[in-house]
Symmetry: C2
């Protein structure tokens, strides 16, 4: 038997046929075209799943379950997407809609939780009894895994670590609150701080790499910091400091066996990891005690498909 | 069969014989005298357990297990107290030492986790699949319960919500860090802020109740606020705001079914609860979605004994 995993994004839908051991056997993808009615998006999702099954030489009879990772809040029990801001979805009955096309058990989970689940099965946190994954992208996603199960919370709000308040009365967040972690620990934060530095220091290597202030991206800032550019290093050090605070808060709150860093920003690799590891002890209470291991995610984009598929194994 | 529950405090050791259903059948207590060697404290703990058994008309043969809640960090697997600052304990082999006197399974847990466990069995959060309890005392304790089990974390550091950073670079904490939640959300915080107000506003009702600045306690501040004293209300509102931020962070991070407020400060009752409930929506993302229920603890001091005893049922 195989599992279908669906990674529903704002731009693309990626579908994979996943084996019992968490390998992707075949993939297919389709544009989301999020402005359409949700029924049409789900119909295309099902067609894409059928295409992936065909590629793998399998039929619906081989499918044990379908899992969908969504960029929003899921009612896991009822298989309903409660809210997906960037798709404009509210209370979409994903399970029942999908079952019109493929009549198998359908599971729905938050995309960051699903990525954390994938890493804990076949990625860097495999074998850990508990882990928390931070996805450092446009926003800051969080995923909690306890004893091999994704923890989505009692009302689908769990793992929203990007919206834990890091700085009371701080930078306004898209969620309506102020000072959320995601305003300080994300690609968006690197870009905002990079732009600020380039206004004061127009000789910065950041600006040379980007071409113009408007085109600064997170990679420009990280690359310039790696090359020793002072304004970029100031941004990087501020970013690392806030990320270390966030990781320390995860330790104090939940104390997982491992904290996993994923998402685009994590591609800065050892440069990022070494910097956080160096600063973490500063924040740590009980300095003599062991702390969660800190590692980079291994699965990349595949985590979305694999983790969604694994919802059916939970 | 019965369970022995031990609430180990800096001043007193309270021991109870607890039934399968979580009722205390008999109690006994003894001074901790924490400056003694830990072996002597544990010997007295065992003698006290024997005394409680005698009172209940039972013998060691009726005992299934012994649980001890400690004000510090526990290595649950090995039954070792890793660190208890206010007892001066470091790596004390509580399990093996206790078994010299009563040869039964011995469990060790953090006192705040143990109180949360008690509430989830026979207190306000009974029947909840998950809960987080905040103990508002001299410090701010946190306890996490998932599916009827206390979550102490992978290294015994879990639930230390009092040491989640609430204000980066904020008030120095006893743990060596700055801006920990416990500096803003505890009796100690109410006292500090109350004193500050009384220096500027010596006519405050806080000072009338306390007699002198040095004698201000949390109850003075809360009582003065209830009576409408303006300086006391400023302290209270600041405190409630930080407590609401902390509860909102618990929601974003973990999203339990219920958040429980215990400890001395929670005796302010509906006055406190209503104030927090009024302010919480301000911080909430996904405003249309349900949030964790917020309730006051029910068990009071007995939670320490009952919860410790229940460690053996986990």
């Amino acid at each position: 038997m195989v599992y279908i995993g669906v990674d529903l994004g704002g731009t693309n839908i990626a579908v994979g046929v996943v084996s019992e051991t968490g390998s992707i056997l075949a993939e297919a993808s389709v544009k989301t075209l999020a402005e359409r009615p949700s029924e049409e998006v789900i119909r295309d999702m099902a067609a894409c799943a059928q295409k992936a099954l065909n590629k793998a030489g399998l039929t619906q009879e081989d499918v044990k379950s379908i899992g969908v990772g969504v960029p929003g809040v899921a009612d896991e029990e009822n298989g309903v997407v409660i809210s997906c801001t960037n798709l404009g979805w509210h209370n979409v009955p994903l399970r029942s809609e999908m079952q019109k096309y493929i009549n198998k058990p359908v599971y729905v989970g938050n995309d960051a939780n699903v990525a954390a689940l994938a890493e804990s099965y076949v990625g860097v946190s495999a074998g850990c009894s508990s882990s928390v994954m931070l996805t450092l992208g446009t926003g800051l996603g969080g995923g909690i895994v306890i004893n091999g199960k994704a923890w989505g919370g009692s009302h689908g709000r769990g793992g929203e670590i990007g919206h834990v308040t890091l700085v009371p009365d701080g930078v306004p967040c898209t969620c309506g609150n102020n000072g959320c972690a995601e305003r300080y620990v994300s690609a968006t934060a690197l870009i905002r701080m990079g732009k600020q530095e380039c206004i004061s220091f127009p000789d910065s290597l950041i600006l040379k790499k980007a071409g113009s202030i408007d085109r600064i991206n997170a990679k420009n800032v990280l690359d310039a910091a790696k090359e020793g550019d002072a304004p970029a290093l100031r941004v990087f050090n501020t970013f690392v400091n806030y990320l270390a605070l966030t990781i320390n808060n995860i330790t104090s709150f939940f104390d997982p066996e491992m904290v996993v860093l994923g998402g685009g920003v994590s591609h800065a690799g050892a440069f990022l990891l070494d910097a956080i590891r160096a600063i973490l002890p500063r924040y740590q209470m009980f300095k003599a005690l062991p702390i969660p291991r800190l590692e980079l995610a291994r699965l990349g984009n595949e985590a979305g498909i694999i983790g969604a598929a694994l919802l059916g194994k939970n």
